[in-house]
Amino acid sequence: MSTHTNPPTPRERLVVVGNGMAGIRTLEELLAKAPDRYDITVFGAEPHPNYNRIMLSPVLAGEKTFDQIVLNGRDWYEANGIKLLTGDRVEVIDRANRSVTAMSGLTVPYDRLLIATGSTPVIIPVPGSTLPGVVGFRDLADVDTMLEAAAKGGRAVVIGGGLLGLEAANGLKVKGMDVTVLHLMDTLMERQLDRSAGALLQHELERRGITVLTGADTAEIVGIEKVSAVRLKNGQELPADLVVMAVGIRPNTTLGKAAGLACGRGIQVDDTMTTSDPAILSVGECVEHRGQTYGLVAPLFEMAKVAAARLAGSAEAAYTGSVTSTKLKVTGVDVFSAGDFTGGKGCEDIVFRDAARGVYKRVVVKENRILGAVLYGDTKDGGWYFQMLKDGTEVAPVRDTLIFGQSFGGEGAANPKAAVAALPDSAEICGCNGVCKGTIVTAITEKGLSSLDEVRAHTKASASCGSCTGQVEQLLALTLGDGYAGEAKAKPMCKCTDRTHDEVRRAITTLELKSIPDVMQRLEWRTPDGCHHCRPALNYYLLCEWPGEYKDDSRSRYINERVHANIQKDGTYSVVPRMWGGLTSAKELRAIADVVDKFAIPTVKVTGGQRIDLFGVKKEDLPAVWADLNAAGMVSGHAYAKGLRTVKTCVGSEWCRFGTQDSTGLGVKLERMTWGTWTPHKVKLAVSGCPRNCAEATIKDLGVVCVDSGYELHVGGNGGMHVRACDLLVKVETEAEVLEYTGSYMQLYREEARYLERTAPWVERVGLEYVKRRLVDDAEGRASLNARFLFSQSFSQDDPWAERANGSVDRHEFAPLAQVG
């Protein structure tokens, strides 16, 4: 038999449903392997030829045109003999007769069918989600809608702070809209980024003028004929002319399901990309493989390769799943993540931060292999890490320099000294003060400088935020050689950093750092989230610097300040209600007695600070105990706080035959003014009504001793381990002056003492003369310190017990999660 004389065997018919990236990539692969095997028909629901969907963001941002993102124009289909039917959605698969029927009524028979219907955006089912002006971000039509809206300006709200949402937000911002991103979780792109990188990204977007609201739960999209606003569950309403829904994608299984194919979250396929019908294959975002669905391009291409090989007749090709990596396509924002960077048992974090360049890198290593990576600001080594991750490369040989990237290890490229040496004289070293390398080197040689402090004094380099300190030290070493002895290092805050408390505080102020992750990034912390030494200190410094603005981080507080009671050796707590100036009443005492009975509180004791301490309260009883005390008008005594504890008083002129002034009344006024404040360490005040000093005012952080002619103010005393009698600060004539001095003294201590430094060592360190200069000699400075104190107090005088007793704050702190067994 001769093949020449027979009519050619009719070719098999392959129908592809879906003209997207996965389907067409499969065809490209197939044509390369078996160009003549099939008669191919492609249906596309969109009116366009095959385009690069992941480049829609640059199209939105105006960086690319549609023509530039077309992958295969119509001529390609023609040249390969493929019949392309665009704008015609396939509606029915008739598996019995092996044919598909499209919206137009056209029916095409197949021998093999490839479903590549992709995914659809998830539209959250809130009222108003179908209003005109609400769009997804999936196809070119969505981009056109957005561009049309953007042309009119106005406000856009993007729901979803993931990859797509942020790209949409950036594009709309570039196009001139006011953009707000709403994100349900507390970190942007939380599935791809860790908290540190998420925070950096948020700042960058905010710097570009995009408003980001995290923890924002959408309740309703408001509008009559078209969208006008988005309302959140907390009641906040954001005006909107355009709402982009970018909360996620869902495999488009409509067609597969209707055809009776096995579907889970996606159309289920085996390792050969074959569905439950052997004649039908499926690839792309619409499939579910080994329980996984994918929304990134790399896995789709891997699937396409396997599907094409199978269609070409291979019996071997198999898809076994993908490890994915992510890149954000926002110009100027480099973000990369891959693999599992949540860490876990036996994992090791390698963290690198370069604040000057805005770089954060974290590589997670387990058993000498890379498990995951997050890169922000410098992603050029993303591919390298990803390759080693996929290959399971042993990283032990490069472990020490792994975090510096692939190019490290050559001729000292990353040696900081060599790097500084290589800089031209015109290179700016100190960004704060605009000092370049040449100026510093000249100053060192011509003025004979030999220490960092001298360089700071003469050039101002590294005198502000201090982030160039390392480079200035390198310059000293380079210029002086052995003549540079190095710096006598002040004690760093903790093992997470080389910075001292003072350096960190200065940086918080000058660099306007406003969150713990911010500080850790800019000051190049060596740990992902600090430790029990630095976190409470940072939380305090931020709270002090940005009153009303900084959101307290309860996770960075010691347990006593987190649950507003004092932990005892057996894990129970003690509770001390406030007794203003040491005064109490029958009503308060009765309420305390009732609480003691009701909760079977084992020990009741009078404290040294003139109030009553209830010992042995079970943690879960705390809110109920507080509710009862609140009901009798009592609030937290902050007996657990690095803050104002008590104002001890004697009875004064009201009852005492020696009393010169109303010391009790003044004590109450002082306590009313200062309660609720957070300070570097605990603060105790006292007011004695005469020089007999029954309130022991001269061993307090601030003590007032009343005399006939007015009030003596004593500071820096301590009755603890190292008893220190106060120093006399000043004598004043009126109660108003006492209050102003107290406020300004508290604020000076708050702003300048180091965390966990009591006033006694602080006054000794800075010297009484310094305190006098700031408070006594400088009336204007005193007034402004006092004003800052009172401003800060306007945010801090809410009873923490009441918020917890009514269940509105930290409810989870007081109840076990579960009881089992």
Partner: protein, 118 residues
């Protein structure tokens, strides 16, 4: 190991504050579940090997917790005290399945004071 353990669901990851802890009451005493900044979940007996302090009340940093009573630092994965202190807290297998936290309580291993290993 998984085969022989029966897993008990005690809540969801979201119930545990990030960098925080929640307690589960069990026949073996209180078990503290920790969630790290990277969303890893660990389970330790809620007793510091040093003086029995409730670890659940400590500050969580990295994959460690600092005991609230005397600031011993305990490794969450192994329960062991971080040097120079020696001792280890009891630990319990834990896993997260679709956001649900599950304890393998039957495989709970009590800790010890001062032994230096689990």
């Amino acid at each position: 190991m998984d085969q022989s353990i029966s897993w008990i669901t005690v809540g969801s990851v979201e119930d545990i504050p990030r960098q925080g802890s929640r307690v589960v009451r069990t026949a073996y005493g209180d078990i503290a579940l920790f969630r790290t900044v990277a969303d890893e979940v660990y389970a330790l007996e809620d007793r510091c090997p040093h003086a029995g302090g409730p670890l659940s009340q400590g500050i969580v940093h990295g994959a460690r917790v600092t005991c609230p009573l005397h600031s011993w630092v305990i490794d969450l994965a192994s329960g062991e005290a971080v040097g120079p202190d020696e001792g280890c807290a009891g630990h319990c297998p834990v896993r997260v399945v679709d956001g649900a936290v599950q304890l393998g309580l039957a495989a709970f291993r009590p800790g010890c004071g001062g032994c230096g290993h689990g």
